[in-house]
């Protein structure tokens, strides 16, 4: 009990001083439990098995990413963005590149736009696949479903490796375009992965959809209302599972997303099941985008020739750029004072802000459900703590 921070002592309501059968139990979930997705801790007050109060505790992975980036040049921060949400480094690259491009008014070549869309949608596929794998793991299905999704994820990571040289820390995009052109045969390999992926989704759906345990553990659990989701700034698949039609790919139409035909899946109930289903459907929509992008990709340059990425000094000013990352709205807010380093560099982390509603979703549910609800938020601690 002495492990609990002083602030957490105040969690226990005053009337709970009584000892005996009706006493409340204060426990610390995490930080090193396998299902906490990293070093994350929750101070939970329990009435029997029921959660009465829950406060997330952050900061175990805090390294002040923003301060470090303010001391480095614009280009030097690019590889460091990989370490935010380390499942989807390419979308992090894109968000940062987009913010710098807005700040300095850079246009990027057509081919680079297509490569960005292809890599970002592949990132979304492997992120959602592994999230659903983790979710089944947290419901007690140890092993098989997670390994099925990791098998598919590995195929996509192989593509990343042959393109960027790294499976997870890709460091691939630059403001003004992309770092290197596609290697020979990469597009054909990708077409094959994309063509095979629906088979995996069908298999996964057959495995999980009608599963009684999955239905019992997810339907009606952790309901998030539409109003609260908007009010608390929740974004990404969780928001859409609560029935709000807000996808930044459709709203901002950044990059070239206005050229593709795809739909935004929405949930009705806002429970864990809907969040799972929205991710499954989103993968199918991503496959549609990928098919169109792989069909239409033109040849040409991949870097804007006017942009000097080394010794880059944008004019004084500020810009906020955001994209739809697999976890929600990932934004970068940059202020330039005309020097080679950003004066202010801010990451808007979807994982952290989506956790605002964790307590609201968990109140009144069991401890075992708390873990499942936490899993569907889909956080990565590298981004939460920065």
């Amino acid at each position: 009990m002495e492990m609990i921070a002083p602030a957490a002592q105040e969690l226990i309501p005053n009337n709970a001083a009584a000892t005996g059968d009706d006493a409340l139990l204060e426990i610390s979930l995490g930080p090193h439990h396998p299902s906490t997705h990293g070093v994350f801790r929750m101070d939970v007050v329990l009435d029997g098995e029921r959660v009465v109060k829950l406060k997330p505790v952050f900061g175990y992975l805090h390294r002040n990413h923003e301060k470090i980036a303010e001391g480095a040049s614009y280009l030097a921060s690019m590889p460091y963005t990989d370490r935010l949400d380390y499942i989807g480094s390419l979308t992090n690259n894109w968000a940062y590149a987009l913010a710098v491009e807005k700040l300095a008014g850079i246009q990027i070549p057509e081919r680079a736009e297509y490569i960005r869309v292809i890599t970002a949608e592949l990132t979304r596929l492997q992120n959602h696949a592994s999230t659903i794998g983790f979710l089944t793991q947290e419901m007690g299905a140890s092993g098989s479903p997670l390994m099925y999704s990791f098998r598919e994820r590995e195929k996509i990571l192989d593509l990343f490796e042959s393109l960027t040289g790294s499976r997870m820390m890709c460091n691939y995009m630059r403001f003004g375009g992309c770092r290197v052109d596609l290697p020979a045969g990469w597009l054909d390999q990708t077409r094959k992965v994309v063509a095979d992926f629906p088979g995996f989704l069908d298999e996964f759906e057959r495995l999980l959809e009608g599963n009684e345990i999955l239905l019992a553990r997810t339907q009606g659990v952790g309901v998030l209302s539409r109003e609260l989701a908007i009010q608390a700034g929740v974004t990404g698949p969780i928001l859409r599972a609560s029935g709000v039609n807000y996808d930044i790919r459709k709203v901002d139409r950044y990059g070239i997303y206005d050229r593709f035909d795809f739909r935004v899946p929405l949930g009705e109930h806002g429970d864990v099941y809907d969040r799972y289903m929205v991710r499954m459907l989103e993968m199918r929509e991503s496959l549609k985008i990928l098919e169109q992008a792989l069909r239409d990709i033109p040849s040409g340059p991949i870097m804007d020739t006017k942009t000097k990425i080394r010794g880059f000094r944008p004019k004084a000013g500020e810009a906020y750029g955001r994209i739809e990352s697999p976890k929600g709205e990932l934004g970068f807010f940059l202020i330039s004072d005309g020097s080679p380093n950003p004066y202010r560099y801010r990451v808007r982390p979807p994982s952290l802000i989506n956790l605002t509603v964790l307590e609201d979703m968990c109140l009144g549910s069991n401890v075992s459900d708390t873990i499942v609800i936490f899993g569907t938020i889909d956080i990565v601690l590298g981004e939460v703590d920065r």
Partner: protein
Amino acid sequence: MNLEKIKSDIEAAVPGCRLQIILNGSPSGQHSLLLGREHAVEIARFLRDDPELRLDYCSNVTGVDWLDSETSEKVKVKKLVDGVEQEVEEVRKTRTPGYLEAVYHLYSMEKKHGPLVLRLRPENRTDHVTLPSLTPVWRSAEFQEREIFDLYGIIFEGHPDLRRILMWDEFEDHPMRKDYVEPNDYEYEPTPHDAVLEKSKQARAIEGQR
């Protein structure tokens, strides 16, 4: 979004409020609106509930620290030197006091427009670092205002749970401020060993005097 129109709409809805448009020199064209502290919560409520704007989604909240800055310019002044009037160059310095800032990026999920950038500034950087909290209006500001409190030291009045979020509770300074100096060792704790070392140093010093 037409910032001039929003400004006049706010002025009509919240009489007596202080508003100023801050221009942004970057090609992004995201100009911002500086709000007076006194009416900030009322203005925020208006922006959220106004049927035309409906800025129901507060996306990004962050702090910025601007240090005291000094700009010097050369001015030609006429002066009497040895009884003769001469033109002399003089360096004139203007000092702008530094300030902290909280920046809010607002969007509308209903109308699908945005961003509207709001700025709030506490009175100074040292002893009056308070701002009204906008968490009662947009809950998404809850963790982000806590983060500003933690890393910049702005105190948000009316915040439901203002504690440090990323640094540990015993930490004293605000590391994102531009004048923050890192300690040699973050986790330094005096140990009994230090006391022994100190004693031996003193003993040696006394020996040296003899």
